[in-house]
Symmetry: C3
Subunit: 398 residues, 3 copies
């Protein structure tokens, strides 16, 4: 099948396209209604941010090369995927995200996306030394590194792919053998693919070790959905083998783990850790839908690639960021040293790489949600989830 | 009265105007000589900074949306308001201001303005933990956050208003009740208004709590004037109930608190804290004029809104930043925890806001200065200022 | 001799040229083949970086005003000066270089140049307090400060000069006498000059104290060359009085100090400190050439200006940054307090300045290398280098 490709950015080849508008008319034979717009945003905290707005005729989404190829927002008709973050005016330019703030929470300066990648050297809670000096900031750097290579392609069937390359890499040198010093040269190669009329997008990520020596990485896909999809009585439908609170103080969220309350002024945040069920190939599926079961979102993933699943229930007022995070990852968002001890930091030998494939699909009607629910229940296969009311010591620092 | 409005920036509506030039010709019926130029600066540390240059036919000033709607410089004929900062090439882009530097002084990287706002979460001296890890950097973030909404309007009388909105807001989430964690979602809405021929500008700021829960803020208006207006023998004329040095080491500046010496190589800095007198409505007025009483600047403010007044006498060589700061605020520029203990951190309930109104007026002749002086003396009403030669324990950490 | 000058940037005069292309045709009477292109780079981590690409008909080099007037890369025919840094997509914009990272290594985010200046307030290894809080980050700020004034000139003979001014200056104020507080207002004025056909470039730097009071500075010229010039068997030919390892663990590099091994997976880094020999005027010369003695680079410098010479042998795999640094400086790259104790921090009285002149020359054939070698050997004059197998306590923290 023939495919046309447009380079939007290739730093190595000194190529940059500030603005590009492609529609079905630009590619012979593809279906009507496709549109891809690459443009640069100006003003405020988004000044200089490049975005790619894709419309496959039904599903629309915005990819942000300047923010590590993150996925900003998506819509399918009335269904809005994403959330109303307290950070307004995004997507926020990485140069204004003060990652190195001493409290380790600088990442929050730019956090407003539907999909934010957490990694690569580290993710999870900030880590400090005994005196309180920051060692690993919250959720790492990759989401705040601009891509250096970006392409869009359309094949004869009208399938659109946005691909990009983001490097988290710099010199490390030392006088002794130390993988911590040497091996931190990682590359994220990502693609977003969608067909005409498809109600979602498929994502393929490869994390490569550019170094000749051993390196390590972590990856969590921080997928965030808020109001109006999430509302009082909305449900997470997931094939669960075991679920546990991260901390004991979060156990209050356990009895109603799969249900969301209304936004609550001064409400709390809880992280629930899940061991999902999957089929023989590792395929699994989680569904989130509103109370009325008329709007929803599915995440399709492979548990062999992403064994850990975190459900973040952040039940604050809407203006304070009412949102749930559905977060498949190579690990749980604990402090990196704990995850390392539990074997949940990925090792890559020199030149080695690891691939992650998942998909995000919106549901705009009851029928589609019913079908998705049926798929999840088939994975559950009648097994009763093991619901822990205390943290699991293998999953949490207790 | 009819008013025409131009949107210069509205991120939410995806509107940005790189360049706009308005003059009296663009608005029917307004007086001659008005000019408003919005443009972007390029190169050096100012690259990408947007400025709005306003000329009301007499008074000219520059507002900087990219730097939190700060007021960069102003002139009235020969009178220059502002100072010769050791930072050259400003206004400095916030992305090059390393606010998170471990010494807490990163804010200085961008400090070159006539009016810099200090806040909103905190202002004043940097605060560290016991090990020396930064908790609150000097003077907070608001001056280094770009506005996301900016408008200019002109009414039939030729009155010009520049308004902007700046958010210091991001997600906070926690597992327990903690106002420090939740409530830090603050919005500054500011307007600068001037009439044709008016010798100054009137400022109205509103600080709003965007959160549904309780929040706190601090605000100091750091108004800075240097050479040539400030010179040997220049005077601060202020209606003073009480004045005290911040630190004992600064008490050397007390005996001549209202007079400025010539620039001095290797000279020192002193902060003097004032309790100003005001009329029944809270209205008060401070005047700074040169030795010859031919150039000056007045600040009109309301003590009910801004109860604390700091006079910063920085008597260094001109090339090292000879300057005085006239700094009305909700608090004194001490470390935030001390100000909190003294009740000088403002609490806002969810959705609540607080407004500050003040004006800056230039004086270009002896007559205008004499009139201003008369107004201040009327507020003083013959009362003798209480001059403390040691810090006031309610005002300073002693 | 007549000279034409083009201003590319002058912030004080509000001048900025986004793009300029000059060739021999633009200047009457100069030789054919000259070209100067000033342009802005877009996309990725280099977005907004201004570069000046100079071709004198033989030698080509790229100066980066946005990165402190650094020298990015140079070529003479087949000879490539520079290296393959693990940071891809440079030159990196300073706003994305997280200088204030708690580990003190943020400078590495942008390190990919042939010539990076280290200074001015400090350079060398990061310095921390007892609790591990950063005091001086690695290699200082100057390389990550954009120039505020840039010019290009061509004289009748076709000699090209690129000059720029970079300020590392901001307000410091205190209540006591403290040169650390007051004097940190430094200016770098630099020029790169080359004649038609010249195989290199001559650099003149002046560091000035803009303050009226005493200030201090440090300067190391971090000149970096990697593959293919550096290969197994390549040689450093330098007139050496004494050479010592920085640390004992680096002494393994001493027996073969003047020879480079092949890139080595997981290889180590060593810094060797040299006391170079010079002629009566201070003139000295170091040569680096490949194993075949067909490609090389000379650095001509004055030991009276730059008394310390560091050779950095970073023998990692090519993808991990195989490179040697040839680093003349006012000091060795130790922690600043140690260098201060050893008298290797430069003091400048108010308004005083210090000038550094050096040249980088490429060698594209055996004959040119032989001539360079002869010049170095003449400086060596048969004296045997004193080769220390342990650190010299005057040069290193032991």
């Amino acid at each position: 099948m023939a495919k046309r490709t447009w380079t939007l950015l290739n730093v190595a080849e000194d190529q940059f396209v500030e603005k590009l508008e492609l529609t079905s008319k630009d590619v012979d034979g593809v279906p009507e209604g496709l549109s891809i717009i690459k443009r640069r945003l100006y003003g405020g905290m988004r000044d200089g941010v490049d975005v790619i707005e894709v419309d496959n005729g039904a599903f629309r989404f915005v990819v942000v090369p300047t923010r590590g190829m993150g996925l900003w927002r998506a819509t399918l008709g009335e269904v809005q995927l994403g959330w109303q973050a307290p950070v307004k005016g995004g997507p926020i330019h990485p140069s204004l995200v003060r990652l190195e703030a001493a409290d380790g929470l600088g990442w929050m300066d730019g956090f407003d996306e539907l999909l934010a990648r957490c990694g690569l050297e580290s993710n999870g809670s900030p880590v400090f030394n005994e005196a309180g000096v920051l060692r690993y900031p919250l959720h790492g750097k990759i989401q705040n590194i601009p891509a250096h290579q970006v392409e869009v392609s359309i094949d004869d069937s009208g399938e659109i792919t946005i691909s990009g390359v983001v490097d988290e890499s710099r010199l490390f040198c030392g006088t002794v053998d130390d993988a911590e010093l040497f091996g931190k040269k990682l590359r994220l190669t990502t693609s977003y693919t969608t067909k005409p009329g498809e109600p979602g997008v498929r994502i393929v990520d490869t994390v490569s070790n550019l170094s000749a020596v051993r390196g390590e990485f972590q990856m969590i896909y921080h997928i965030n959905v808020g109001t109006p999809l999430v509302n009082a009585g909305s449900k997470l439908v997931a094939p669960v083998a075991k679920v546990a609170p991260r901390f004991l103080v979060e156990a209050e969220a356990i009895p109603t783990w799969d249900t969301y309350p209304a936004p609550a002024v001064g409400g709390h945040s809880a992280c629930l850790y899940h061991d999902l069920l999957a089929d023989a190939s590792g395929r699994t599926h989680v569904l989130l839908h509103n109370a009325e079961a008329t709007q929803g979102v599915s995440i399709f993933l492979n548990k062999n690639q992403l064994p850990c699943f975190t459900q973040w229930k952040n039940v604050q007022a809407v203006e304070d960021g009412y949102v749930t995070g559905l977060e498949p990852g190579t690990n749980f968002p604990n402090e990196r040293p704990f995850e390392a001890k539990q074997g949940r930091v990925v090792t890559l030998q020199g030149g080695e790489s690891r691939t992650f494939e998942f998909a995000i699909e919106a549901h705009a009607d009851a029928k589609s949600i019913a079908a998705a629910k049926k798929d999840v229940l088939k994975l559950q296969a009648g097994r009763e989830p093991e619901v822990l009311h205390e943290p699991n010591p293998e999953w949490s620092i207790t």
